[in-house]
């Protein structure tokens, strides 16, 4: 810009006009784009249903202290393994804790683990993938080899291996999921960058003399956001399933913290499985419903953002 106008001295007014013009252009673009995106997303009935279920479960977990009348941790020895009643909606477990409260509070931790790990691994994967995909060279080579190493382990074996080395805690679990999960999103972001690297606007920016980091993150990344969003959604679903599976084995979040998987852990006891269905069935249904809703949202996002995936 400054080079083109070098003949005439720029005034402050010029700069202001430029700013307003930029803002208008940006706004017009997003509004139109958002409208098209929204209408496509809303047209997909399953995605809307998924979003409603997702929102309801998230809100109920978030406002758990307002909804649940019982404490999820304190045992009540006068109400051990009682079936559902008006007092305890989902009944009580073997130490008399209210299952409904535990499901709500457990949702907080499970969703935190799922969403948190998905976002963290997306941040790492995108930062590395976008830059190395655009620049290439030795950085790209190293990042690719590291991700290959991570991805040649079956996911759960790697997770359990790291659990054995690092020990069991909530924070460790998020770290482990992030470590094992960044590879997928990194590869996707990188592949996307490779495909748009040779487009004309990128060449134009390069010829303007913009630095590689600026081109990669500011100008190319927005064009790769669609698939990245889809990937974050789907990996949230996968991480929630993994947390549930690990906690079911007793190797995820420590058993003292209620999570969806930890509540299900009780069903390893055949007597609980046969006689106290209310301890494990509602939780299992909640996990399934939540993961299903996230998957529906992911599918809706894919259809709305990626024109090549329709039909």
């Amino acid at each position: 810009m400054t080079d083109a106008n070098a003949t005439r001295p720029r005034t402050r007014r010029d700069a202001q006009f430029d700013k307003i013009r930029d803002r208008e252009a940006a706004l017009a673009g997003t509004r139109q784009h958002t409208a098209r995106f929204m209408s496509k997303f809303l047209n997909n009935r399953l995605a809307v249903v998924g979003f409603v279920i997702f929102a309801v479960i998230c809100l109920m977990s978030l406002f758990a202290p307002l909804i649940a009348q019982h404490d999820p941790m304190s045992p009540n020895l006068r109400a051990i393994a009682k079936p559902p009643s008006a007092e305890h909606w989902f009944g009580t477990d073997k130490t008399g804790r209210d299952v409904f409260a535990r499901v709500l509070y457990g949702g907080r931790v499970s969703i935190l683990v799922g969403l948190g790990s998905a976002l963290l691994s997306a941040i790492i994967g995108v930062i590395i993938g976008v830059y190395s995909g655009y620049v290439g060279g030795w950085l790209d080579w190293i990042a690719m080899r590291i991700s290959e190493i991570f991805m040649s382990f079956p996911q759960i074996i790697l997770v359990l291996l790291l659990v054995a080395i690092l020990g069991q805690s909530l924070l460790n679990l998020i770290v482990i999921f992030t470590l094992t999960g960044w590879g997928g999103i990194y590869r996707m972001a990188r592949a996307r960058m490779l495909s748009i690297r040779e487009e004309e606007y990128v060449q134009a920016l390069r010829s303007f003399g913009l630095g590689p980091a600026r081109i990669a993150y500011k100008h190319m990344l927005p064009n790769a956001l669609g698939p990245i969003m889809v990937n974050i959604t789907l990996s949230t679903a996968a991480f929630i399933l993994q947390e549930a599976g690990l906690s079911f084995l007793g190797l995820g979040v420590p058993l003292s913290i209620p999570t969806w998987g930890n509540i299900l852990n009780a069903a390893q006891d055949l007597r609980v499985l046969e006689q106290n269905w209310w301890i494990w069935l509602p939780v299992g249904a909640t996990i399934s419903l939540f993961v299903l809703s996230v998957n529906f949202i992911g599918d809706g996002l894919r259809d709305a953002t990626d024109p090549s995936q329709q039909g």
Partner: protein, 320 residues
């Protein structure tokens, strides 16, 4: 073709070396060393530091890390996998005992999901947009959303505890070890393990079949007056199946992952169950060895898939 195989092997070997090194490094980072596992705590309090040191020396623990890694990896290559900390059982013996059970379960699940998944996917593609197609899509979505162990729990409750059709778990009853005696034990774990993969295969087979059906040779076959079912089966299905078979190779990690949890649910005496109890009891040598072998299995499977693709599709081996 030979150069292609050689090139693939050349990239595989450094990978295995690096991963085995990382796994050994992980073993090194865990708290305690071999001596602290060998010597019981009460005996340890009686031993002075010098004798402990001598014991470490005699086990080669005083040597530098790289040297110990070299001794370990050459041992592994000669079949010396070390000993489990629980009872000092040789790890190779644990593998020999447990591997058949895991292979049996995995192959059963692989078979079910391949057959069922490709049939359902083909039906879905042929009736594209119909009610059948849409409901199959939703069922597939349910299949990947419901945790496998939850399926397992419900299956145990309904089919084992209430209906009494199948045993609750385990693999062999003492005294009955023919295949037909074992089959009832296998049905539920294999079905449950195959659900997630069936859904994946179905999805893939559907899009692959749709892709095949839009090709020119299908139109040619139709224009020759060939009956519709012959067009679909002989030309469409056969072409669509190739990428599905490739997919199955890549699904091996999913299968291994699933079997770890499913073996626990159904008390199936395989490697996965052993692995979980090893992680629980911090039996590091066993954990590391199972991890190393699962990586090897995945790498070899992907090698085989690559070679198969190269045989089927000449563009792959000439392209690089």
């Amino acid at each position: 073709m030979l150069t292609y195989i050689a090139r693939r092997l050349l990239t595989l070997i450094p990978m295995v070396i690096v991963i085995s090194f990382l796994i050994y490094l992980g073993l090194e980072l865990t708290p305690g060393d071999a001596v602290s596992h060998m010597v019981p705590p009460d005996a340890r309090s009686m031993m002075d530091e010098e004798r402990l040191q001598a014991l470490r020396e005699s086990l080669g623990l005083g040597k530098p890390f790289i040297v110990r890694y070299w001794i370990w990896i050459t041992g592994v290559m000669q079949g010396e996998f070390g000993y489990s900390l629980a009872g000092g059982v040789p790890i190779s013996k644990i593998f020999l005992d447990r591997l058949p059970a895991t292979l049996e379960l995995s192959f059963a699940a692989l078979l079910i999901s391949t057959v069922l998944g490709s049939i359902l996917g083909t039906i879905s593609a042929l009736t594209r947009g119909s009610l059948t197609d849409q409901s199959l899509t939703v069922v597939g979505m349910l299949g990947v959303s419901i945790p496998e162990f939850f399926f397992g729990l419900v299956a145990i409750l309904v089919f084992a505890l209430n209906l009494n059709w199948f045993p609750v778990g385990g693999r062999i009853l003492p005294g009955y070890d023919s295949f037909w005696d074992r089959l009832p034990h296998l049905v539920m774990p294999a079905m449950v393990l195959s659900i997630m993969m069936t859904a994946g295969v179905m999805r893939y087979a559907r899009s692959s079949m749709l892709d095949a059906l839009s090709r020119d040779f299908i139109r040619t076959a139709r224009s020759k007056g060939m009956p519709e079912w012959r067009v679909n089966i002989l030309h469409g299905f056969r072409v669509a199946l190739t990428p599905v078979i490739v997919l199955i190779g890549f699904r091996l990690p999913v299968l291994i992952g699933g079997s770890v949890i499913i073996e626990q649910v159904f008390q199936w005496p395989g490697i996965g169950k052993e692995f979980v109890s090893a992680v629980r009891s911090q039996d590091y040598p066993l954990v590391m060895m199972v991890a190393l072998f699962s990586v090897l299995a995945v790498l070899i499977a992907s090698l085989i898939v690559d070679l198969l693709t190269a045989i089927i599709d000449p563009r792959v081996r000439l392209g690089e």
